[in-house]
Symmetry: C2
């Protein structure tokens, strides 16, 4: 007999947590740290704050492999009434708007707490203050069947020393020795593209890894913009038509989308066979489809506004690379803004040579997306495809092996991740093209440097 039922999104991600990256105790520890650190950096960015992030890992029960993880930041905090849902509800968050942020799904932080809960049966402790005056302290568990918080305890008191920020603490079954190398790389690489952030990690053996900030400047934060007309489908269009306050289609187009002025709006409406004075709410099914089709056929939309983006920046990227590798040569490129399917993106790339970069047969590739280091699934990533298949490094006089490091950074309102675990980027043609152009420019500059070295060595021999 066939039993039909619905499951909640938390139940779905509980049953399929390996698809979200929580596959083994080592990988789950890595994912927990990265999800929490990314939340902390987003929170600092929201408030134009120079980030301070502290990660503490302690052994709670060595025999059972249970650790205690705590991540503390000085970001904007979470309002007291929002804390339970933010941390104990899947598909709930503040990053669903049209602007660049590390978080995107509304599930990372909750997944970490969920994993901790199902392996240790203990509540998580969340503390946060948004104003330095009032501190909220919660002990939370997740009702996995219903996808809602279970508040074990809650407290509200003055924030000691005017502290503002967020602290997330929970227990989890983990494998630190198995995850350690990747965790240390994650923190080190995060410091490369966020040199304005102070990052501290104290591990379960008491070892301290400290990356004090190298620059005192806060990057220009992304600002939300209206959606771009390219890539709009009937679902999006139908919703916007329902929600708009505009009284006619002309105003609807110019006020709901970026890059549509009155002239463009009139041309698009003509292409759709619609009158500019029609009320948006009075469109028939066929007319909505015609409007979306007109958007697809109209090929004169200007490219998207890069305001919702916040790239690493050439100076920041160079400073970050120099700090870690002290290379003899660095060249950094930042491409002009581009877009795919209506999502603006900026590619930045760099090559570094010499210094403490190890001499390797295969190229050392460091991948970043929205200032997050990507450390898994390298072969599935578009950056790997470009570095390995689209660029012939011998054209740029690169020997084999060589002390060469390549850095790729993609910032977008929507990074086309291949998986929920955010590790590899899909090969959208526009992104592949921008990466190729950026790396060729880096290659040409590297070639000039290597030629000079070659000449100098030849002269020295004579």
């Amino acid at each position: 007999n066939v039993v039909y039922r619905a499951i909640s999104p938390s139940e779905f991600f509980y049953k399929n947590r390996d698809i979200a990256g929580f596959s083994s105790p080592a990988r789950s520890l890595y994912m927990s740290i990265r999800e929490l650190v990314e939340n902390s950096l987003d929170a600092a960015e929201m408030g134009r704050i120079l980030p301070e992030v502290l990660i503490e890992l302690g052994e709670e029960d060595a025999e059972r492999g249970v650790y205690r993880l705590r991540v503390v930041d000085n970001g904007v905090g979470v309002p007291g009434d929002k804390i339970p849902s933010a941390f104990a509800t899947v598909l709930y968050g503040s990053k669903y708007g049209f602007k660049q942020s590390r978080g995107t799904f509304g599930l990372g932080g909750t997944m970490a707490l969920l994993y901790g809960q199902i392996t240790t049966n203990k509540p998580a402790k969340i503390m946060s203050s948004t104003d330095g005056k009032t501190l909220y302290i919660y002990e939370l568990m997740i009702d996995v069947v219903e996808n809602k918080p279970r508040i074990i305890s809650s407290e509200k008191k003055p924030s000691p020393g005017g502290w503002r920020g967020t602290s997330v603490e929970f227990s989890l079954e983990a494998d630190y020795p198995g995850a350690r190398a990747k965790i240390l790389d994650y923190i080190k690489h995060t410091a490369i593209v966020n040199p304005h952030a102070t990052l501290t990690f104290i591990d379960s053996k008491g070892r301290l890894y400290h990356y004090p900030r190298m620059v005192e400047k806060v990057p220009e934060p992304p600002r939300e913009t209206l959606p771009h007309p390219v890539g709009v489908d009937v679902e999006m269009m139908s919703r916007m038509l329902m929600e708009t306050k505009a009284r006619n289609l002309l105003t609807f187009l110019t006020t709901s989308f970026q890059k549509i002025g009155p002239k463009t709006a009139k041309e698009v409406l003509e292409l759709a066979g619609l009158k500019p004075e029609t009320s948006p709410r009075k469109l028939s099914h066929e007319q909505v489809t015609a409007l979306v089709d007109a958007f697809k056929r109209y090929d004169k939309f200007r490219p998207p506004d890069p305001t919702p983006l916040s790239p690493v920046g050439k100076d920041f990227l160079e400073a970050g690379i120099r700090r870690i590798f002290n290379p003899d040569f660095v060249h950094v490129v930042q491409r002009e803004p581009s877009s795919y399917s209506g999502h603006p993106f900026i590619v930045e790339a760099a090559v570094a040579y010499g210094g403490t970069i190890p001499v390797t047969e295969t190229i050392m590739l460091f991948r970043f997306a929205n200032k997050i280091p990507l450390l898994y699934d390298e072969r599935a990533d578009v950056a790997w495809k470009v570095v390995e298949e689209k660029i012939d490094w011998s054209n740029y006089k690169v020997p084999k092996p060589a002390p060469l490091a390549v850095f790729t950074s993609i910032c977008s309102t929507k990074v086309p991740y291949k998986t929920v675990g955010k590790e590899a980027i899909a090969d959208r043609p526009e992104i592949e093209r921008e990466l190729t152009m950026a790396l060729r420019e880096c290659g040409r500059n590297l070639k000039l440097y290597l030629s000079r070295i070659e000449k100098r060595e030849a002269a020295a021999k004579r």
Copy 2:
């Protein structure tokens, strides 16, 4: 100002549909066909019915790239009152139990309809009869924001000619030329591991691809069993303790899990420091954790019952391979049931040589999971890892290049897919080991065959 909100699971998979496999018009057509065919085969299996599946693709608007897709089967059908939720609600289905089925997430069929809806703004047409007497006909759209069906029309009438089964029909923006090769492979390979199914595909150019069934026997269907104690976490244990009707822990253990008899139950309870007569509902938080820990430490659980599995079968697999490749040599292996994390699985493998198999440098690998062909992400799959890295084919006298085809089939209550799009399988050590043993056995048999051929050719030369 920070805006916090929740999104529904349909909203999540709409925004992130590329993560579910719906990334391009070509890939989305492939996914739509496979999700519907897999639903049809599951439906036939449910009723021990010899499957008949018809796939029809028509061009609806060539200029706009809009097609009409229809998949019809003779399976068990969907009850009239369940049709709207089954097809227009994400995370709703009948395959959440503990037994093997192609479907597992409760989202594939709805995703296909969702993709069609957002690209064409048209409703889907679903017809189904569970008894050959009453036919239900629905026109449905999905309310993506709320994750619920919008019934455009519904009808109930006598089922013409006593027809029982399901028909799913909808329009979608697609790219058939770009998807055609993969679609034809999908159907052909489905016929390999389902030789009892009659599959028919009529494409938009009117071409007919027909695979009449080769065997008249229905495979033994999987039967749901109790969960296995290995891999149980505190979330699962807490729920089972709440829901059980057992009056004491001893009965709870013997009636809620497979492979736990009274003796085993007493040993486990002793390990947990719990009394057998305690009421399951009276356990404290710490006691639930202690019980789960005892499960983890107890190493004498017998392996899982293979009753919830339904492997391809050696005779079926050989018949399927012979039909497609007419090889000179085939060897098929079915391993004994094994398990990972409490999920039973059976590995089957085969090698075929000669016949119409093309001579290739790289090995032609055909991967299957729960009788579904996997055609993407080969390099990320555990089967590829084993075929390329764990097996040295030259040990078995395989030349390079060679007319060699390798087939791997994994059947489980939970296939460890790496993604929601079901294309690559994670390298769980137990699965990797079983694949390696199966392919080595195939290799040894292939070696005997190739040695005989070698001797025969040497004799012919003299």
